[in-house]
Symmetry: C2
Subunit: 340 residues, 2 copies
Amino acid sequence: METIYDISRETGFSIATVSKVINNYSGVNEKTRKIIKAKIEEMGFMPNSTARTLATKKSWMIAIVFEEEQGAGIVHPHYSNILQGFKQTAGKLGYDIIFLNSFLGEKRLSFAEHCRFRNVDGVLLAVSANFTDQIKDILDVEIPKVSVETVYPGVPTIISDNKMAGKQAMEHLYMLGHKKIATIAAPQDTIAGRERLQAYREFLKENNLEYRPQFCVEAEKYNKTAGMKAVNLLLQQCRDEFPTAIYAAYDDYACAAMEILTEKGFKIPEDMSIVGNDDLPIASYASPGITTVRQNRDDIGAQAAKILVDMIEKKDQMVYPEITRIPTKLIVRQTTFKKK
Amino acid sequence: METIYDISRETGFSIATVSKVINNYSGVNEKTRKIIKAKIEEMGFMPNSTARTLATKKSWMIAIVFEEEQGAGIVHPHYSNILQGFKQTAGKLGYDIIFLNSFLGEKRLSFAEHCRFRNVDGVLLAVSANFTDQIKDILDVEIPKVSVETVYPGVPTIISDNKMAGKQAMEHLYMLGHKKIATIAAPQDTIAGRERLQAYREFLKENNLEYRPQFCVEAEKYNKTAGMKAVNLLLQQCRDEFPTAIYAAYDDYACAAMEILTEKGFKIPEDMSIVGNDDLPIASYASPGITTVRQNRDDIGAQAAKILVDMIEKKDQMVYPEITRIPTKLIVRQTTFKKK
DNA sequence: CTGAAAGCGCTAACAA
DNA sequence: TTGTTAGCGCTTTCAG
């Protein structure tokens, strides 16, 4: 592998000057710059990031922390899409992404230790609230970090505007003429869950619609099984008077509702309108396609990258927004119906 | 940040001895080892991987190359699950995963250049055939690499046993009494597509079932839209005589078939049995759940990691299997039915 | 505008 | 068993 010494030797200039042209520094004669650049090209020289990092204390690497549980982390479409957006803009800003393992060889390593070991410049926290225990050591380390999905004190968080999401879903249903709208809420120990439910209640109030407790159930988890349970409970609670529409605060719940209702002889959307939330792949795969509120995951990732890089590069103590909201968007498909 | 110099100063031993205990080398008095270890613990010292890499030429990093197109790469459940498996076993073997960008700052960088820049020890190619152009420069670089999904000459490939998959699907259908089995083949410019179709034809032959060309269509891509097109073509071709079962070589096609057939008044599985392939999330989400052949992605990832690390660590020119097959498994759900 | 030299933190001969 | 020393490839003062 060529080094700056090779370039130096071949061109007759010192390694210092070579280094200067590599880094596009000023204070180099245009002529010598040309010569050196040509030689670099000719020899196919590529700088060594390791040596550079050792000298500058800057690795141009961002660590990313995921959960490693079944169905979560990188294999979940929500996170992988955020990562995609993050990676792309971080890349354009010059940073590569490194995945932190909780192992270093056979030895267990905390995420914080691992960050130090690898000299990463920043970290992206992409974990749900119930993973907090395993990353809390990282919260104390002084390195810049941002979070998506879960809010940690002192860590700028980039997250969907869940209130907007809930409102968009409700507004759509209301515009279609629905007044008796039930909801399957997401777990209330997550922000998304709380805010979507809050939006539901606020919408009712603002539009002088009655809030009926029996129209409101909470799923225990973000998955279809929990959704099934919640739907069954809802149906049981509403035996006397059915809603005409459901705002399912997570697409899996919408999916569960469709399945159960269809089985019970309901026609979707004629007998029951359903709006999901998130626009997971299943929403468009399902038949009929599920009307839902899309999270702009690309943008969440992109904003997270931008803010993180800002934090890394502007060492000055400027303050970063504790929480950045990314707008959501209603996607109308076939599970919602104009009430006659 | 503490360095070995700090440990050296505090304990009175030289940095060489400190280094030796850090690396668990022999030739250090047990007593001094204890002392040094204690001090390391006390000061919370953590070695600096950058300095280590510079000195040893080994980064303990594996690069991973993904496609960056819509719906492919990391956001596709197939790849993200493989990555999950890969990451886990690579991690236990001491390696971290780094994502290569095609950018270094504003400058475009080839994957090969990027590998050199980052001093990675090996690379995992996780791309489909139609991405070959963009990675072919990496094929020439001398660094160890493995591939999943696509076969490149000279690169050990770890991939599902697609023949087994096709056979398992067909056998299941045959055992249920089906003789008129159609197939929706996956693109024939991919190995998976070719092998699954081959298995279909071989199965027919081995069991003296007639091969009818009109029972066999090929989708253009690995997605639902292509599946829809293929299914419509199939139905058109079979107007005279319908099959009683379909082997859809990709779950999206199975999904498409279900949707179209249901709409046309078929009852699934009573009127038509369907077996998919891959066990993507949609297969279990769908209602009825799709019987399919599962790819063991965890294992693909794990094997890939093992082989790659072997290649990295055993410099000797031992030969690695050009292609490693990972067994598949039939997952019976509700879209297959015993023919009366 | 150019270059000499120190240093980033660690490893690995080689001496002692 | 321990320590000295010379790098690894690059950046960065500071002289010239």
